[in-house]
Symmetry: C2
Subunit: 240 residues, 2 copies
């Protein structure tokens, strides 16, 4: 019948594997955030006892590694590959890759603090991504000793920027009277005013309520564009 429970003992055909576990973990974390990603909840989502997970993964640290790789694998490196094969410019290829990188993490914001605690490129899909980036930079004429520093500088910025996409907008919502940062407050108003005009957003009066966790932070796009252009320009300057 429908509610039947699986009997104890080895099932005739395996119920779990690392891929199914990673997929379920990603669904869970996307829906409910990092805090709800517990071994018990994950097991329930898979219709299984929590202890069964340990037949396939080493523990929770192993699980986060799986997640890191699953997400990094979605970053679009096709423009960088194309550039290495002679199509397009390094400038636009870097821009495409960087935007994809940030978008991927922006789509899974709750994963960021989780991944932040991990080695930056411990997992295979992550290493593969960096290999493509490195090859493109080398092909573009960036001196060999500078390739890795460039990548790490981008990484730092992209990671921080991805965090920003879902940072609460409360920074922009303090009341003028109670502000302990008057200069900052004034510039925030100048900034949100431009957004209201150019994007037609809700940032006009600077008093919108705190956003849902699933919402995007409109204030993150301009800083991202600014920093990205700065890094790309500096990278191109390294080419002799």
């Amino acid at each position: 019948m429908a509610g039947s429970r699986r009997q104890a003992g080895r099932p005739v055909t395996p119920v779990l594997n690392r891929e199914r576990i990673a997929q379920a973990a990603l669904e869970l974390v996307s829906a409910d955030g990092t805090q709800k990603l517990t071994m018990a909840a994950l097991a329930r989502h898979l219709g299984v006892a929590a202890s069964a997970l340990y037949n396939h993964i080493g523990g929770k640290a192993d699980l986060t590694g799986l997640l890191q790789d699953a997400v990094m694998g979605r970053v679009d490196v096709s423009a960088l590959k194309a550039f290495r094969e002679g199509t397009g410019t390094l400038e636009s290829a870097l821009a495409d890759w960087a935007r994809s990188y940030r978008d991927v993490f922006a789509a899974h914001p709750s994963l960021i603090p989780l991944i932040a605690t991990l080695p930056i490129s411990g997992a295979p899909a992550t290493r593969r991504m960096y290999d493509v980036v490195a090859a493109a930079l080398g092909h573009g004429g960036v001196p060999a000793q500078q390739v890795v520093p460039v990548i790490i500088a981008f990484e730092s910025f992209l990671f921080g920027s991805a965090m920003d996409v879902h940072a609460p907008a409360s920074i922009f919502t303090s009341q003028p009277g109670e502000s302990d940062a008057p200069h900052f407050q004034r510039f925030v108003e100048s900034f949100t005013a431009t957004l209201a005009v150019t994007a037609g957003g809700t940032g006009g009066d600077g008093r919108e309520p705190a956003r849902d966790d699933g919402e995007r932070n409109p204030y993150a796009d301009a800083p991202f564009a600014l920093g990205l252009e700065a890094l790309i320009r500096a990278t191109l300057k390294l080419v002799p």
Copy 2:
């Protein structure tokens, strides 16, 4: 006697306050890392029952906010203040501030993932710091609407860079034969070779063992300098 336990009931003079709690939490996290920062361990460090903490702080989220502020308050903004009062250049003031920011977080690496989950400037000391930065940028001639984007771009980069300082060096230690990222591996060798020459470090053979958590990552400095210069240059370009 020495091992005497405090009797139940209100003590004649209070044992705890928010400052003492924050200080103890910082000590704990610096010594043992974020994972060991539990309410029980913190209480033990303070010689108190765990439940006593709740008379002074709202919960663990409140505690992390306290920590964020304690750390942010150590960032040196004196160069920015001086610039606003007519001494020095915006360029060098930004560089000094950025280096201090990164150094402060590099000194408390285990705090980074913890703070990464918090609103970027929820706490008063953090807001005060941003106010000084904003005032200096405005004084330096950065257009009003661009001040906040510049700050956020710096923030993203600095935060990511601080993470990098204590990232495990395992990224640089894979064996040539088993590498699944040959291009990247080659550029890593070019990079570490320059470090071995210029810094006389231990990066010569690219096979040093994983570092202690307390050690600094020598590979983080060049990327930081590169990204910082890129951002400063882009900021100065905004000045009409």
